[in-house]
């Protein structure tokens, strides 16, 4: 079984596309669509890496990232943020809160795959 990637994203077709790409690349992909319960999902089965959307129902990705970084068992998990907003202030906030990478939608599949490979096997 490959390393686990948790994709926290509320758009089902984006989930399906990214899930397909990463599964083909050997990762075990878990998905979750709700911001409010995302931390519980992470804590239940800490993944090797998290792909985290910024705008989620219930709770923003920034708030989740802040909690991830302040929780012992999750603070070192690599996180790549996805957002439809490519503004510098969002990028700065993500990196300041401890994101390892920040990717703006729409993205290319190869970029997602390459960054996941790089983050999981630096």
């Amino acid at each position: 079984m490959g390393k686990r990637v948790l994709l926290i994203e509320d758009e089902p077709n984006i989930i399906e596309a990214i899930g397909f790409i990463l599964s083909r690349d050997g990762w075990t992909v878990h998905t979750h669509q709700d911001g409010q319960t995302a931390m519980a999902k992470v804590l239940a089965l800490p993944p090797d890496m998290i792909i985290l959307d910024v705008m989620l129902p219930g709770r923003s990705g920034f708030e989740i990232l802040r909690e991830l970084r302040s929780t012992d068992v999750t603070k070192d998990i690599p996180v790549m943020m996805l957002t439809a907003r490519g503004q510098d202030k969002d990028r700065d906030l993500a990196l300041r809160l401890g994101a390892n990478h920040f990717m703006t939608k729409p993205f290319s599949n190869s970029d997602v795959r390459d960054y996941v490979r790089a983050m999981m096997d630096p």
């Binding site: 758009e11 596309a17 129902p57 993205f107």
Partner: protein, 432 residues
């Protein structure tokens, strides 16, 4: 070339305007024609009695020749020239003002107009960046584009994809393309709609909001009583209705600051974990004052983001402090389910409710609201009510039954909401 030296040019132009020979003018003021010639070519400085004599002989006020009245114009020309970088001959601005005062005035006028337009564009850009209608519609478009791009790229890759996956991806592209079409149409319809008062940076509330947002909704001069509310209004540069609106806000701010001095209040707020009920008890102050005071905590001091909305009995917003996760349209059309409006039907009763926004912008918000009468009233008139709602996006506990609010019907996807009063411009979903 200094402005004094340009006095000669003015003397020469005025003399020629009235058809006076150089020798005649020189004789009239008791100097030689050659000396007057040096003066007229700005090679001799003059002032005092000789300037007064020349002005009298030419029938003008001495200040007209000295050019003192044009100093403002020169300042404006210098200011305009800085916009052009190295393009303008800044050193010759005084010569331009002296020789062509009309053209110089036009340049100054255009520069002032450009500055006003720049400011207006900045305000518009800022509003566009924070417009909840636009943000939601654009998010919808980008999400659909992302899904289509990613799915299409999988299909055109050279990899072998089994038939089931191919069919699913084709269906996904079809679904997303329909959604993209709808979102795009909604976006175009929204952008083509005539600009309403809310979107104009010139609305009094918009101007006041811009001023307060620049100051982080915290006014140290009033806190420290180093400026009166009227002085703050004057320093803001606002005029007319905006100044009147800001004046009312500043007077209320000053009264609240006197009742609850900031240093002690900030400590109490932290000690009570920003709970308005605990704070009201601890401070011995009414609930509405606590709700107004909490959003005035200094920014960048480690306090949580706290939003505020105030409306009148008709539900018209009088004050709005947005924070991430909380937004309301400032001119009509707000969701009627906010506790802000519910409090109007129960005056003087504090309300506490968790609210949840729908869809991609969803946030859990902890809301405290109260509607209070403003003052003693006439027997035959209804009370003048103000409803105040405090909003804390990061403090919600995740209630099992939060109030399902929206920003406004136009961008709310809740299809089965009984309070809906107009169709949404985005797709709706049942039971969100």
């Amino acid at each position: 070339m200094t402005i004094e030296r340009m006095t000669g040019t003015r003397i020469r132009e005025k003399r020629m305007d009235i058809g006076l020979r150089q020798a005649s003018l020189a004789s009239a003021v008791g100097i030689s024609p050659s000396y007057l010639n040096l003066i007229e070519h700005n090679r001799r400085r003059i002032g005092g009695k000789l300037l007064t004599d020349l002005a009298r002989a030419l029938g003008v006020d001495p200040s007209h020749l000295a050019g003192g009245a044009d100093r403002d114009l020169l300042d404006q020309l210098h200011s305009a020239a800085t916009l052009a970088g190295d393009m303008a001959e800044i050193a010759r601005a005084e010569e331009l003002a002296a020789r062509f005062p009309g053209w110089a005035g036009l340049i100054a006028l255009q520069a002032r107009r450009l500055a006003v337009l720049d400011e207006r564009i900045g305000a518009l850009t800022d509003r566009m960046a924070h417009d909840p209608f636009l943000a939601t519609a654009l998010h919808d478009v980008i999400s659909a584009v992302t899904a289509i791009r990613s799915t299409a790229a999988i299909l055109v890759s050279q990899e072998q994809i089994d038939a089931d996956w191919q069919r699913r991806f084709h269906e996904n592209i079809h679904t997303d393309s329909l959604r993209l079409g709808k979102s795009s149409e909604a976006l175009v319809a929204y952008l083509e709609a005539p600009a309403d008062a809310e979107q104009s940076p010139d609305t009094p509330m918009g101007q006041v909001d811009t001023f307060l947002a620049k100051n982080g909704y915290h006014l140290p001069m009033i806190e420290a009583e180093t400026a009166t509310p009227d002085e703050v209004v004057r320093l803001s540069g606002l005029t007319g209705a905006a100044a009147a609106l800001l004046g009312g806000i500043c007077r209320q701010y000053a009264a609240d600051a006197r009742a609850l001095p900031m240093a002690a209040f900030a400590q109490a707020a932290q000690a009570c974990n920003y709970d308005p009920a605990l704070l009201a008890t601890r401070c011995g102050t009414d609930f509405a004052t606590i709700l107004r005071r909490l959003p005035c905590l200094p920014p960048d001091a480690g306090h949580p983001p706290i939003g505020l909305a105030v409306c009148d009995a008709a539900g018209a917003l009088l004050y709005l402090k947005r924070v991430p996760g909380f937004a309301m349209p400032t001119a009509g059309g707000a969701c009627p389910l906010w506790p802000l409006f519910g409090a109007l039907s129960r005056p003087s009763q504090p309300l506490r409710a968790e609210a949840i926004l729908p869809g991609a912008t969803a946030s859990h918000l902890l809301c405290y609201a109260i509607a209070t009468p403003l003052a003693v009233h006439h027997f035959d008139l209804p009370p003048v009510l103000r409803s105040t709602m405090l909003v804390m996006p990061d403090m919600a506990q995740g209630s099992a039954a939060p109030v399902p609010v929206g920003i406004a019907c136009r961008i709310c996807p809740r299809a089965d909401c009984p309070s809906r009063r107009e169709p949404a411009i985005i797709g709706t979903v049942t039971a969100l």
